[in-house]
Subunit: 222 residues, 4 copies
Amino acid sequence: MRQVVILINLKTYREGLGQNAHRIARAAEEVASESGALIGICPQLVDLHPLARHFEIPVYAQHVDGVPPGAATGHVTADALKLAGAKGSLINHSERRLTLAEIEASVRVCEQNGLTSVVCTNNVMTSAGAAALSPSFVAIEPPELIGSGISVAKADPGIIRNSVEAIRKVNTGVKILTGAGIQSGDCVRIAIELGTDGVLLASSVVKADDPGAVLRDLVSQL
Amino acid sequence: MRQVVILINLKTYREGLGQNAHRIARAAEEVASESGALIGICPQLVDLHPLARHFEIPVYAQHVDGVPPGAATGHVTADALKLAGAKGSLINHSERRLTLAEIEASVRVCEQNGLTSVVCTNNVMTSAGAAALSPSFVAIEPPELIGSGISVAKADPGIIRNSVEAIRKVNTGVKILTGAGIQSGDCVRIAIELGTDGVLLASSVVKADDPGAVLRDLVSQL
Amino acid sequence: MRQVVILINLKTYREGLGQNAHRIARAAEEVASESGALIGICPQLVDLHPLARHFEIPVYAQHVDGVPPGAATGHVTADALKLAGAKGSLINHSERRLTLAEIEASVRVCEQNGLTSVVCTNNVMTSAGAAALSPSFVAIEPPELIGSGISVAKADPGIIRNSVEAIRKVNTGVKILTGAGIQSGDCVRIAIELGTDGVLLASSVVKADDPGAVLRDLVSQL
Amino acid sequence: MRQVVILINLKTYREGLGQNAHRIARAAEEVASESGALIGICPQLVDLHPLARHFEIPVYAQHVDGVPPGAATGHVTADALKLAGAKGSLINHSERRLTLAEIEASVRVCEQNGLTSVVCTNNVMTSAGAAALSPSFVAIEPPELIGSGISVAKADPGIIRNSVEAIRKVNTGVKILTGAGIQSGDCVRIAIELGTDGVLLASSVVKADDPGAVLRDLVSQL
């Protein structure tokens, strides 16, 4: 059986910055150890190096540019992520959209540097398009569910089901994450039942008073 | 047998603007009529309406935004293209890259307005990615060939062949154009032999002293 | 006394497209003739050429790229606008933001082609920044007022007043438009009293059942 | 007399990453101490926190987004830079252009977080435009000089002189850096004589076998 993946995107929340990021990473490490789930954390770049140093759970960047080392001021190179201890990176998050050519280049530099690539998508068609680029993961973020307070457990799961089907037609090997509408253990269970390998989530963990309690609930039905 | 497609991108060349655009359209109409090839023209937007009025060959926009009518100042809507007489639009040209989400949205608004969508791509993987979005055409523009003076007839055609193969795995119905390195009738013949439905080209026609002569050469081996 | 300027941005509204654009242009031409105000119209690009052909009021593009003629597929060149009969162009509208370098380049290509440049800005500081680029006009569009239903006649006019003051410190010659919150003749009068040369507006004219009546009201207190 | 400022932009060069960044920072700290010049370093974001921890010289980011903390995945917030120990940030570098509205927002979030803002510009007009936004510094990077191998000491310094003059008309307080064409002590001296407060440079230090020797040469004529 595949290991369930839970990626926590700290975004640019204050509650996920600096010592707060460490606090969430510590909770994630505990719950990962207890549950056997793979729990990863996606901090701001300034926190990546210290978190990768202090914790054993995988740390991912929120963005990587598909450019080689060189004259690219203000960009994020895959070799810099690797050297800082990152395990991989989100790519094309709904808050940081890239061109098709850039997404493909980002996936390739991840491959070249041994990094896991997680390409975010917004609907059935773009999920298939992303899968055709052969990233490690496609994370489906239907805009209907993002920040809507609607959990995938209660909403019509058709968009996730149809996306999984469209992805599988194009690429049988890519892993898939349910990337929006995740609030509880019910949601994670349903995400797995729909054929995805795990979840990508943010505020419900990052803004929680007790991130560990939320994470324990998320893995409770695995 | 499928009708061979020749799309002439006028870009923003002075030689393809206003009366010059009319001159090229007239030549294209003649050669299309003589040869039976489908020859289309992609002018700047200000020329689209007059060209569609005066000529019977299909006229395409160089770009369309996947936004609905409304508050999108400075954008190009599909309904405006349709109303002006356009037959379709290029999307994601190498000189006007779009995000994956935007490309998909542009393809959809073309569908909804009965317009032909021609998505440009830069390599094997992005060609497959674009094909997964189900546009009317994928036009492969390998950067190795763009504006290089290297004709696809003489260069290694592997990138076109591999792109066609990758596209076919994802989408058996989409049409394909060879989008760079086209200079002569040899190139068009090879483009067809490689399994594509035609060509997308620019400067070799637009900057020619006699566009009709170049077009006659292009269709000479069909 | 300076001639009052009223620019009507048709955006991508259906109500401002094709025959609808002609209807609004006709009303604008009548009211301009009656009132002596300079009333201009900013249609989608496909309508620019026909409108410039059929009407005597000035027609402006909604966007222009600061690139020379050449290989810039999907872009809008100043020489194309000029040839199509445009009088000028909006630049950096809130719905089509440009980099500082691009804005400056767009202003320069307008100058070189004898086109009026209207740079849109969002607050006091960016209004000063735009004025330093020496465009023909700065159009101040405070986001607090855009599409808010709040008219500048009733809102605190401090942001317009402070922007005018900041612009004047940098550039005494540039003309200024009040670019949001314009709904009635009161608003136009206040815009003039605040030291601006006129207004840039959209939906209140474009979506009106009787654009002529709205325009007559707008100029009623001049 | 004002302290001369030398900012070293490590870009995304391998030679400026990880332990290489530490090596350059160490050399910079020594030469700053010997010379009294303010020597700052702009690493990739993953190196910012460790460099700020280990060295006393100021460390600057290469880019900052003008967004508040919150849902902005893949962006760089000013509070994150501050918390990681940054002294300030480059903004709108020629390799990472921003819209006018974004530049202004980035300058403001720097102000709010007590960070130094260094806005890069490409010519006389945009230098004046940037100065109107009241950043801490404007860094003039004429494209004619960037990566050209042409030193400002030998090239026509008119563009720097004219930019300084245009900036001063708009803003008497902002500091100015000469941002391209800096290779030697002669260049730094000339940059100061032209009325700028220092220099922003990259490859001549980053790619040097002995960065300390290059830095000693740069400050040799102060």
